[in-house]
Amino acid sequence: MFRRLPDAKRDTVSLTVDGNALTARAGDSVAAALLAAGVLVCRTSAVSETPRAPYCLMGVCFECLLAIDGRQNRQACLVQVADGMRIETQAGKREVGR
């Protein structure tokens, strides 16, 4: 669905999404890295538990919530990828303490 611009030459970064290895480019937001890799659903919604994907990509809509390094409900569009980062898609509501 999404393709990277051909002139984008940046270092690569390794992370995992739900345990699967994924390579992104340094400077990507987590949301951009997921979309570029074809991971389109980042979570299911809190009340109706229907699929959600990154939408506004600028920190406003709160659709792109997921767990980053064990902490849930983080905005994937506002966090840059880092080597070794552990991403988990999220099912429904956050748990207190996670």
């Binding site: 809190a46 009340v47 902490r71 409900n73 429904g92 509501k93 956050r94 748990e95 207190v96 303490g97």
Partner: protein, 376 residues
């Protein structure tokens, strides 16, 4: 007095908040022709800013009849919620698992125990169970309490609901039964006439056989037009709501509860600020800090919104229910517990209004009780 006219409705309800809509729903169920005159979205609307507890414990110190009135509504709430669900299909998420009031020091716990003892020692106090729980017992019922929590009071009659859905269900229900709802109709004048009342607003006028004032803080202005008094003032409360989380709290707490959809509400502040309904960082910070001292794990949650709303408060904190002596057929109903008392308003008070007479048991809630202090 102007000549009689054919009334547009049997009874006009001034105010479309929780109190007005509960009365309107209850009246229309009894076959009364009801018209509700409401303000617009700019109204100071306690019904859209409240904490949604259905609460009994600690109410009624100084007026045990108020404790009995609150208990009666709590006891009637399940039936009330079931009636609304059956009629409108809307579940207002009423639950009555019992509720806690947490104390963050031994001193707070002692003060709490003393207050409840005084309350329950009053002559004519309605009897119902409550307990003071020490920390050890509390840890089993409320896992995750912080180290500062010394104990709590618990009352099995306490509960909560989704009060926004309650307001919606009452509005849907009353209109489905045939009540007419008029938004943006701030009532400017009420003129008693032969056989009824004329209610004047910028958008037009309405003739009503009877009228009940349920306009919250607006009642202070309206009551003298029909020979009544409503010494009420706004009292600000502020609330924080967090992001939605999985079930965390099985019981409502006086200052903290989890809604049916998962958000945690933190509240119960009290300020005298007139009609200023803005949020202040000082109070919000204090609310948040106490919530985190109660349950340290809450510190990691994101806050979604905070807001302030204005309670409708009398000098003694108790409701006013009264029929005008000079203009019979004009009633006033005002309180700051429109959620807790909704079952009573719909199923006990509305039938009295339909019959045109308040039961003698409500005499204690007349505003005449405030005359004593001015005479002294």
């Amino acid at each position: 007095m102007a000549p009689a006219q054919v009334p547009d409705c049997d009874i006009a309800v001034v105010g479309g908040g929780l109190l007005g809509s509960a009365l309107a729903w209850g009246l229309q169920r009894l076959g009364q022709k009801v018209a509700v005159l409401d303000e617009g979205d700019v109204a100071y609307r306690a019904s859209r800013g409240n904490f949604a507890l259905v609460w009994v414990q600690s109410k009624g110190l100084g007026l045990p009849e108020y404790a009995a009135w609150s208990k009666r509504s709590s006891d009637g709430w399940r039936h009330f919620a079931d009636l609304l669900k059956a009629q409108t299909g809307r579940d207002v998420a009423f639950q009555r698992p019992g509720g806690f009031h947490l104390c963050l020091s031994e001193r707070e716990l002692e003060a709490r125990a003393a207050l409840l003892k005084r309350l329950h020692n009053q002559p004519n106090m309605v009897r119902y169970p409550y307990e003071i729980l020490a920390r050890a017992e509390l840890e089993r019922l409320l896992p995750g309490i912080g180290p500062e929590v010394a104990g709590a009071s618990y009352c099995p009659l306490d509960g909560h609901c989704n009060s926004l859905r309650l307001l919606l269900a009452l509005h849907a229900g009353m209109q489905d039964l045939g009540a007419r709802y008029f938004p943006d109709r701030l009532v400017e004048r009420i003129e008693p006439r032969q056989g009824g009342f004329r209610l004047v607003s910028k958008a037009g006028e309405l003739q009503a056989g009877k009228v009940v004032l349920a306009a919250g803080n607006g009642n202070a202005r309206l009551a003298p037009m029909v020979g009544l008094k409503a010494p009420v003032r706004p009292q600000r409360g502020q609330i924080i709501v967090t992001e939605k989380v999985r079930p965390f709290l099985a019981y409502p707490i006086a200052t903290l509860r989890q809604t049916d959809e998962g958000g945690l509400l933190i509240g119960d502040s009290v300020e005298e600020a007139g009609f200023d309904d803005t949020v202040g960082h000082g109070v919000i910070s204090t609310l948040a800090a106490r919530a985190v001292r109660s349950f340290p794990a809450l510190a990691g949650l994101n806050v979604v919104r905070s807001w302030a709303a204005l309670r409708v408060m009398t000098a003694d904190g108790f409701p006013i229910y009264e029929q005008s002596a000079s203009f019979p057929g004009a009633f006033i109903a005002t309180c700051h517990s429109g959620v807790t008392l909704a079952a009573n308003h719909a199923l006990v008070l509305a039938p009295m209004l339909a019959a045109g007479e308040l039961a003698a048991e409500l005499d204690v809630f007349s505003a005449r009780r405030f005359d004593v202090s001015t005479a002294a």
